[in-house]
């Protein structure tokens, strides 16, 4: 039995970031990279299922990205993934979430897992679409924003709850294999121990090109994307009226706002 977990190395902006000269991206020197927060939860969910299973279960982390992504994959290996796959060549640069999904689907086709997990969204681009697009390309059942899951590897169905707007949940039974996008809070991701970090260094990261998994150059990068970034820019700053002064002065003004509200309230 096997669970494939799609992970992304996301980028956050450094304080004094700059937009690239062509205006279509952020200068990479100003990006701070880390494993996507959602993916920490989907990896944990897979590892928990593995640990609870009576039979053997393999957890495989897969990511699409250049060399530096190995750092995030090592993190996954330290937190319990058995092995990792990284897919990249320069033609993948400029891919949108759908082109990435094409590579993810091809990797899943090759690995033939019983379940594919992805995060609900990434913290940097927030497309919320890669996992579900991959499901369509695989022809698998799919569901988004899963906040609790009951699944035994190899079972024909899984039962989960999806988290809707306004504090509502819905329980669903779904046929497997399926793609589930995992919501924050579904579990408590573990910290990697020093020992597991050391062990992770010995676990394999297989590096593949799109061609290795049967994806042509025309299906990735800008040519394989359904959208193209035209321009990035810094929006006008917020319109909040700043309350200045010492902490005491700021708190005094805040107290005034509260009293005004209470005075006006019926």
């Amino acid at each position: 039995m096997k669970i494939l977990v799609a992970v992304k190395q996301v980028a956050a902006l450094d304080e004094d970031f700059e937009i690239r000269a062509d205006g279509r991206g952020v200068d990479p020197d100003f990006l701070i990279r880390d494993l996507n927060e959602w993916d920490d939860f989907s990896l944990e969910e897979a590892v928990k299922i593995k640990e609870a299973s009576s039979g053997p279960v393999e957890v495989v982390a897969v990511s699409i990205g250049p060399d530096e992504v190995d750092e995030s994959l090592r993190k996954c290996l330290a937190k319990g993934a058995d092995r990792a796959i990284r897919i990249w060549d320069d033609a993948v640069e400029g891919s949108d979430s759908i082109a990435i999904a094409r590579l993810l689907a091809a990797a899943a086709g090759r690995e033939a897992p019983d379940m594919l997990f992805a995060g609900v969204q990434s913290s940097d681009q927030s497309f919320a679409s890669t996992g579900i697009a991959a499901a369509a390309l695989l022809g698998w059942a799919h569901a988004a924003v899963v906040s609790s899951l009951t699944y035994a590897p190899g079972a024909k169905t899984a039962i989960f709850r999806r988290e809707l707007e306004g504090g509502l949940l819905q329980e669903i039974e779904i046929q497997c294999p399926a793609v589930l996008t995992i919501q924050l809070g579904i579990n408590t991701p573990r910290y990697a121990s020093l020992r597991s970090i050391k062990q992770a260094a010995a676990k394999p990261i297989e590096v593949l090109t799109p061609a290795d998994i049967g994806v042509g150059d025309g299906d990735v990068g800008e040519a394989g994307s359904l959208s193209r970034v035209r321009r990035m820019y810094v929006p006008d700053k917020g319109r909040a009226q700043l309350i200045e002064g010492s902490a005491a002065q700021q708190a005094a003004r805040l107290a005034e706002i509260i009293r005004e509200f209470k005075g006006a309230a019926p």
């Binding site: 940097d124 909040a240 805040l254």
Partner: protein, 318 residues
């Protein structure tokens, strides 16, 4: 037809308000001769005709489906059939939990131009351009869709104005293709109360976010909220960590703080889902040590400073 197809969203017999916002966005993109059609999928689609009969809608497509509630397989096959039949240039859906479950699948299967979480739409030199946020709303990203005959956009809730006038659009029944659904919806569950607070009724909410740093700090903010007469709420990370019950979580996926008029957010950076859930509040005061935090973009008043210091000073005044 060339024109715009809007996919309305409903849940448990109620039209979700974002559906009307999509119709507002359709008016921005509408060109001369374009038709705006809105499709509603339900076991009983007729009940949504009245609320969808608003200005700017030419046609309501009632699509009767077997699934009583949202089902990805059902929606994907019905919308694909509608696109094949109507050949719209633009398809508008809500950026919502439901669309997270089908929009990307539809775009990938049909090769549609595609963007999600779009808060601005326009035509520049005749080309459709959508704007979305990136890097925690710190950057705006304009995208276009070269060579795509049909573009599917998932629009952010609260970003577009719904039409106000009523109208009498044409009503057409549309028979969707048969579908074998691979998922079975069971019951809906209200997030458990956990304690006795009803956040939906609270008019004054003081919320704590990641900025409080550790669970041990929760009691002092609980005490502060009591002192100033506010209900204590929290953002997602606090509820996920179990520091406060889920029933205290406000924002899009938490309880709808629909009655809230004064909202003080302490140490909440403002994830888009949180901001979207609190946008309706007339007075938002954000207290955060990071002057770049996105919450300052929606707040009426901002205090850049140490939340513990402000909390302590504020406590001494009540």
């Amino acid at each position: 037809m060339s024109g715009i197809l809007v996919v309305a969203e409903q849940r448990r017999g109620e039209l979700r308000p974002v559906s009307l916002e999509l119709l507002g966005a359709a008016q921005i993109l509408r060109r001369e001769g374009d038709t705006v059609a809105v499709a509603v999928m339900s076991a009983d689609p007729g009940r949504f005709v009245a609320p969808l009969s608003v200005a700017g809608v030419d046609e309501i497509l009632t699509v009767q489906v077997a699934a009583a509630e949202f089902d990805p397989d059902t929606v994907e096959s019905a919308v694909a059939a509608l696109i094949a039949d109507r050949k719209p240039d633009v398809v508008l859906v809500a950026h919502s939990v439901d669309s997270f479950g089908y929009a990307a699948a539809l775009a990938a299967s049909l090769g549609l131009g595609f963007a999600t979480d779009v808060f601005k739409v326009e035509r520049i030199d005749g080309e459709l351009v959508a704007t979305r946020g990136g890097y925690g709303q710190k950057i705006n990203v304009e995208v276009d869709f070269p060579g795509r005959r049909t573009v599917l956009l998932a629009l952010r809730g609260g970003a577009f104005k719904p039409p106000e006038q009523a109208a009498s659009p044409r009503i057409t029944g549309f028979a969707p293709p048969p579908v074998q659904s691979r998922a079975t919806g069971r019951e809906f569950i209200e997030m458990s109360a956990g304690d006795d607070i009803d956040m939906t009724a609270a008019e004054f909410i003081l919320t704590i976010g990641r900025g409080i740093g550790e669970e041990a700090k929760v009691p002092q903010f609980r005490e502060l909220a009591d002192a100033v007469g506010a209900a204590l709420g929290c953002s997602r990370p606090i509820a996920d960590a179990g520091w406060l019950p889920k029933s205290r979580q406000v924002g899009q996926s938490g309880k709808t703080a629909s009655a809230c008029k004064l909202y003080i957010a302490m140490g909440v950076s403002g994830a888009i889902q949180h901001l979207a859930g609190m946008k309706h509040v007339s007075t938002i005061v954000a207290v955060n040590s990071d002057s770049e935090a996105s919450i300052f973009g929606v707040a009426k008043y901002g205090i850049v400073g140490d939340i513990f210091e402000i909390a302590e000073e504020l406590r001494s005044l009540f």
